[in-house]
């Protein structure tokens, strides 16, 4: 069997090693959900000698506030039009529009705060971080059932 692959292939497919070694950040981003959500669950195989441990970790699957997502796409398509016809109007009004109400701004602020936190955890420049949020939680501590804040 051959070793790990780590090369830029033709086309747009980027083949890379799965993340243990030197490719740290992007590698971890590509497997972090698997590490946390897949794999054998020890409780199924052993019970008596389990040790409960506290796990601080990321919840890789959050639902981004829909309105925020919608506005993002509305803005993207608007920007696209500008690029398309070369007219300069449009973008500023959307940027301005996003700031309009206190409640909306708050949603947005919370979202970017979450992104910053996960970037700290994952080490930054991975391409998936914008869809994740950190949830400090006692995720699964084997024996401890007293979960939830």
């Amino acid at each position: 069997m051959t070793g790990p692959i780590a090369q830029q292939t033709s086309g747009t497919s980027y083949v890379q090693n799965g993340g243990g070694g030197g490719r740290g950040t992007s590698g971890l981003a590509d497997v972090v959900d698997l590490i946390l959500e897949k794999g054998l669950v020890i409780d199924v195989y052993a019970r008596v000698a389990l040790v409960g441990i506290e796990i601080l970790t990321v919840d890789v699957r959050i639902v981004v506030a829909s309105v925020d997502t919608y506005l993002r796409f509305a803005q993207a398509v608007n920007r696209l039009d500008i690029a398309h016809d070369g007219t300069a109007q449009g973008l500023p009004e959307f940027v301005g529009g996003l700031e309009e109400s206190g409640a909306k701004r708050k949603t947005k602020g919370m979202l970017s705060g979450a992104q910053e936190r996960i970037k700290e955890t994952l080490g930054g420049d991975d391409d998936d971080s914008d869809s994740k949020s950190k949830r400090p939680a006692r995720r699964r501590g084997s024996k401890d059932e007293e979960d939830d804040k």
Binding site: L40, I55, A76
Partner: protein
């Protein structure tokens, strides 16, 4: 848990995964907190363990990397490895041997057999945003019309069309979902015949097209990679496709 000497036989152990007992432990392999990884064997199966860090919660980036790296070392060496989900710990090395390995020897050996000689890879695709948005505009008159109308709204009236902008975004997201259903089915249909098993993940973001783990026979790996490259090339204007792996077969071990 009470503090105990880190190297006593009863020190709590973190469990990374299970390998065949004839698997070789790479020299100098370290895990959580740089602790040496040990192989504890029982008949045909062996567990990868190291002393459990004491007095702190696990889950820092370095912990996740350590978990992945230990398993990846075996994948890279071509050895079958069953990954545990992050966060498995047992009371001591004896407990790992008796309660995990001895009590489940046949079951673990059978799962190892099922992944031996195969590699797990992950295929991820994402729309090229501008390209797909142009498609959406071209393909849906209602979206194109609303987009056109909103573009003409002057800056000081942007608040007045807030709900129209939300609606425009909502329609775009809906259009992307429809496209994704078609595109992901098309991509996976092309790749599935080259794999022994496919585990499709629900894409996280609206611009994601496909996210799936595939278990590929080692002998088919070249063909599989060429197929992915071919698809990437064919779709390069609108989809960015990536192949990641081989990875530990997280998706291809039984959960229950």
């Amino acid at each position: 848990m009470s503090a105990s000497e880190p190297t006593t036989p009863t020190a709590p152990q973190y469990v990374y995964g299970v390998v065949r007992s004839d698997a070789e432990l790479p020299e100098g392999l370290t895990g959580l907190d740089g602790q040496p990884v040990k192989l504890i064997r029982h008949e045909r199966v062996a567990a990868l363990i190291s002393d459990l860090p004491q007095g702190r919660a696990l889950g820092e980036r370095a912990d996740l990397v350590a978990h992945q790296s230990v398993l990846q070392a075996f994948v890279d060496a071509g050895a079958a490895v069953l990954p545990f989900r992050f966060g498995a710990a047992m009371a001591g090395a004896d407990a790992v041997r008796d309660e995990l390995l001895a009590a489940n020897a046949d079951r673990l050996a059978a799962v190892l057999e099922s992944i031996d000689g195969r590699v797990a890879v992950r295929v991820k695709g994402r729309y090229e945003q501008d390209a797909v948005l142009r498609e959406v505009l071209a393909g849906d008159p209602e979206i194109a019309e609303l987009s056109e109308r909103l573009r003409g709204v002057p800056e000081d009236a942007a608040d007045a069309v807030y709900y129209d902008r939300v609606r425009l975004g909502e329609m775009i997201v809906g259009a992307l979902r429809e496209r994704r259903a078609n595109d992901s089915a098309r991509l996976l249909t092309a790749l599935a015949p080259l794999a022994e098993a496919v585990s499709a993940h629900e894409p996280v973001r609206d611009e994601d097209v496909v996210d799936a783990s595939l278990l590929v026979a080692a002998g088919e790996r070249d063909r599989f990679e060429k197929a992915v490259e071919g698809l990437a090339e064919e779709n390069r204007d609108r989809i960015s496709l990536r192949l990641v792996g081989p990875l530990p077969p997280y998706d291809f071990v039984p959960e229950g």
